[in-house]
Amino acid sequence: MEPEFATLLQRLVEGPAFLLLGQATGDSAGPVPQPVAAGSGGLSADQAYSEHDRTMSAEPVPGWLSDAADYPWNGVFTSRIDSSLPGVFRRDWRRVVPTAQPQLGRHPRSATELQLRYLFGGLGLPEDEWPPADAITEVESRARAAETLNALADTIITPWGVLVIDGYGLDDWLRPQDLYTFVTRLQAHQAHLFSAGEGLLADPFIRAATDRGVLVAHSETFGAVLSALEEAGRLQRASAGRGAQGGRFIPVGDSFAEVDIDTWNRVVGSARPVNTELLEPFTSASSAMRYQRFRNFLGSGDGLPQWKAIASGYNLRRDFEGRLLQRVQSALDELGLPDPIIVGGQTATGKTIALCALALDVARSGRAAVLHRSVRGERPTVADIESYASWADQNYGLPTLLIWDGMVDVDEYYGLQRQLSALGLRVLIVGSCYLPSQHQRRRNLIIVNPALSPTEIRGLAEWLPSFGGSVSDKVVAGLDSSFLAVLYRLLPETEYGLRRGLAQEMRAAEVGMEKLSRTAPQAGGDRLTAVAQALKDAGFNIGELRPTERPHAELIRLSFEERSAAERITSMVLVAGRRGLPLPLELALRVLGREGARHLIDLVKNFDIFRWAEDDNGDQFLGTRTQLEAELLAREDLTVRTEVEVAIQLIANLRPVLSSWGGGEVQFIADLLEKIGPQSDNHRFAPHYLELAQAFAELRQSRRQTNHRLALLEANLTREYVMWAQRDNVIGHTERLALMRNVQRMLEATLEETDAPARSRMNLLVELASAEGAQIFELSAHGDETESSQVLALMSAVTTASLRARALDPENVYPVDVIAWTTRDALRSGMVPDEEKIDLLANAQASLDSLDSDVLSPSQRAKWDLRHVEMAELLNDPAMETRHLIALSENSDPAAYYFLAARAAKADSPDSLQVAVRVLLEAPAEVRADWRCARLLLDLYWQSKTGKPFLRGEREVVAFTADDWEECLAVTDAIPHAAGYDRYRLDFLRGLSLFHRGHYQSSKDVFRQLNEESRDVSSRVISKYLASNPDGTPSRYTGRVMSVSPDGRRGTAWVDQLHTEVPFIPLRFSVSDYRNRHEVLPTFHIAFNMRGAIADPITSRSARIPRPQANAN
């Protein structure tokens, strides 16, 4: 192989690959018309361009371009302007996104969603992205082209990438001097110029670039060089770019199914489908190669999943993995809506590898479509998961298993599961976390023991020798799993060394194992201290991994700015790495500046502590080998102060993407703050929250752009700082109030000015309510009664914000929690007049009562219970005495009516509920219109009729006569303008009642609207009630098939008794029958969920007959 191809080959294999395509196409097409000359010859610029575009479209694609277009590029940049170019690059396995925008956008290096960037505009693009039409716009277009190329050089290409330039000539719109300026920003041997003839090489700028080593010239075309490399057996196009050209197949049963490119591109931003590429083990290898692969697998640590190694069985299986697989398989077989399964444990206990192994095992079985999300990057988005799960379900009847190795709070998995269940998707989530607190532990939690069991140690004794290693005889029963994380450091570098049995290296492994076998598997720092000591005893000094010659004692005293470039890189990587977070490469480069960035490649190459990785979207990250090593090193080199300085630098250099989620860097900062900020268990950073918040504020002001996620972080940090400052009186009352008022104003502006998605708006509203609540706390603690009107105004604002938040997510606990604790604080202040107290208490109590605790996660449930206890104490207030309430009710005070009715319902008499209902029904209309009274009326009425809460349980039946259903309709009519977020309950009752009164079309109309209202309700697709008879038995119906979708998942059935059609799901009736029109169905029930009536097969799960209730009619 020609040596000049060696660097090209290495970069093609290792790094992202980009093509810069010039305007040279061949002889017949002619040059692209220059804008300033376009007016000559009687043609306007537009006419000249159109003529050029027509010519280019008619021209056959030259062979060299066709060859180049076949390659799986991570991005294409071109000085061409014709509209036919996207078609040249379009393939079955790749979508092409043409653009002339300089902004990066999402996934700028994706090989399957290729960005084709027109440097000077494109004729097939929107008008504001067209090529220049005159001298002025030409200058502007050159500036944009330079900006785009600078982004390529500084950010997109990364130090490991390669740029291929082909089709370039001296008359290109990208002038040689511009090309020279651009390539000098790249690393040596990073840019390769192909089809370089003598004329081109003689140009002084091209010659200077080649002389300086920043441009490597080849006379052949890129396609010819690729062919030469293939002939030499050095590269196969089919496997280039991680096999992007190959199909995307997943196992389905005993066969395989192909994921279409659009579904793939949609979901891969959130999670990676586990396809045949990931299932493929290593090919046959010599023992030396096998040992290298094994050691690399051990050494890869916490970076990207090592799929091939795990598919090849290189991992040691832990006991809990068998239990985990069984639970997952059982959950996938069930038809119900499952809770997420959580794997919890300390650092370095094997969770990540176990989850990868689980993904492969389940994918191989062909019984589920599997998605995997590792720690890095954004949260999986519901829409992305929905698209994939729908594809799998509708086309192949497969449920989806989402393995999210997020190491996030357990509540996040529950929240996502709830959202996916609300859409009726068959998705099971398996997540990971650190050891959850006691109240978060549920039966679906699998805790990983850090100590290896005797079975596992026996397995180790077979596993390690199969790769040539040896196991000490002196290993005792309690070997800590961290041994597996550090084994890489203890094994010889080569198999040759292993076979030679180099005494020192072998001894290190054995001593290390022996020492770690005595490591007590305790929580947190003690365990890691023992691990560090064990490594030292094995003769391994982890400090030697760091690229600094300064001793720890000196380095730890230095600020971030005082450290060398290498030390700053290390600091940044450790701050992120000790929390299991990989650092986005572009962000690190920005913090370092161009000088510091030059050190980066050498550091990563020469110091084994660092790892560079690229994910499936082409995003690049820096990290440590393992979180364990990062933690051990960070303890020696970093103080809290230094970590705060690092965090501030990272915040200051953020570049949010113009999208609702803000991009990978925003996600990284959000993840980092989750680990060191107020939501973490680590409060050492509390004194620095304000500094971090100020860094966000400065970023916002300097960029003159608000990202809603960063605004939320800024607000939350400020509020938590104020709370901390209150406890220790670090800053005064006036300053604390001023900070919270600023936060309030900032949040109000953010809500007004940004286009945040619903969930983000809900979070902002909750934070706004909290900021207002923090002011209440501040004022109440100050105790100045002249400020009581401010307290009342703030409480009103809290209620407004919280209700707006609830409208976006009716089942979310956080808006309810804010109302509860702000009410508590306001009332405890003593600054609220009695006549106002009742209204506040009614808001809080009604909010708490409106939540279905069954949908809450364990920690949310604990919080909800606490608020109930606090509320009970507040309700003992003298203002709540009945005589006061009655007096207020005479003035139509809704809050008073609320409590009077609630108390009446709890009275010790047989008709207490009916009395309570009467109180509300006989109240003035404005009382019934109040959201608290409306909800209470509905709940009490239903309870009085059935003895059960409304909309709880599944497939419930009610013993209602026709008059009872009319009465239900009357009750719904008596509740005018129900609260926005609560409307769905009212409409459900109306729809159910109309059906039972025989008004089927009206019922359908109500449910059609309800289908939209209830999109965020988790129980949306659960059959809550069955159509029932007056005696309380479920009604039985007969009918026949009217239509069925080919997959058997949707259909309609004619119902003989009702003379109308209802939806039905054929698969619920039979795996294979009832697919033909007019086929007679077996007798069935009619069930109701938020979407309406549906034919429901009669099974053993059908209809629970209600217990007779004392108060039921």
Partner: protein, 278 residues
Amino acid sequence: MRIELTEFRQHCVTLAQHRRISVGDALDTAFLSSWPADVSSEAEFGELVSRAYQLWRESWRLDVGFLLAETTNGDAAHVFDELIYHLRTAIHHSDNDVAERLYRGWAANACEGRQPVSSHDWHSVGTALLSAFSAAMAVLCSCAARGRHAAFRAAWTAKVSDSPEEIVLRVANDLGMSLSPGQRDYHVREVTRRWSRFTLRPGQVAMDVLEDFAEQSLLSHVGRIPCRYQDVLDELCVLGTPRAEGALHLAHAVYEVTGIRGDDYRKLLKATWTMLRT
């Protein structure tokens, strides 16, 4: 025959996928693009039989053998195994009466009880063969799906690991090479050819010998050096001597490793030659 051909192709691709995720390397399916699309004469039927036999009993023999051993006797795969053997024997060897009888009987079954004569008859016979092949492949695919179990994958890998194909692949991996199917076939043929003429001496291990053959074949393609080969031999004073071969190997190695040219290259080459010879 179009439906049977589509099914057959699908089964081949599926089996290749199963092998890929079990063993790490897919079966070569390049033959599918030139697979006979139709049969309308005895000669074309003979060609189909040859192609089927070659695939089943030669190209894919190790994998087919492994999977057959895991399936049930009497199933479609075993039936086809017998069938293709007899058909090929009958067509290519005129002295085997048993095979001939079986062939005629089977062909008559495919033609509604009579011997095939017309092009339509031969089309029916061809379709029947392809259908039987497709059914056999379906059985193998179903068996290959057991690759979801680690023990099955390990057994399959072990079965194919000592084949010349896997040995060439192994050595290519060690050399950091990435071979196309065609390139691999070439080197496999080289290795197989040399092995067929080789006699193992006492103390020699067959695997080691095969790996050596593979290494030599893979390295036999060298690039050019930055000057005429005669200049190298002349410079090093080895023209016409037994040392000339070694000198040229060194010349290629120096250029491959350093990439330098011109006088610098000559000086380094000479210095290296001198150092090695002292």
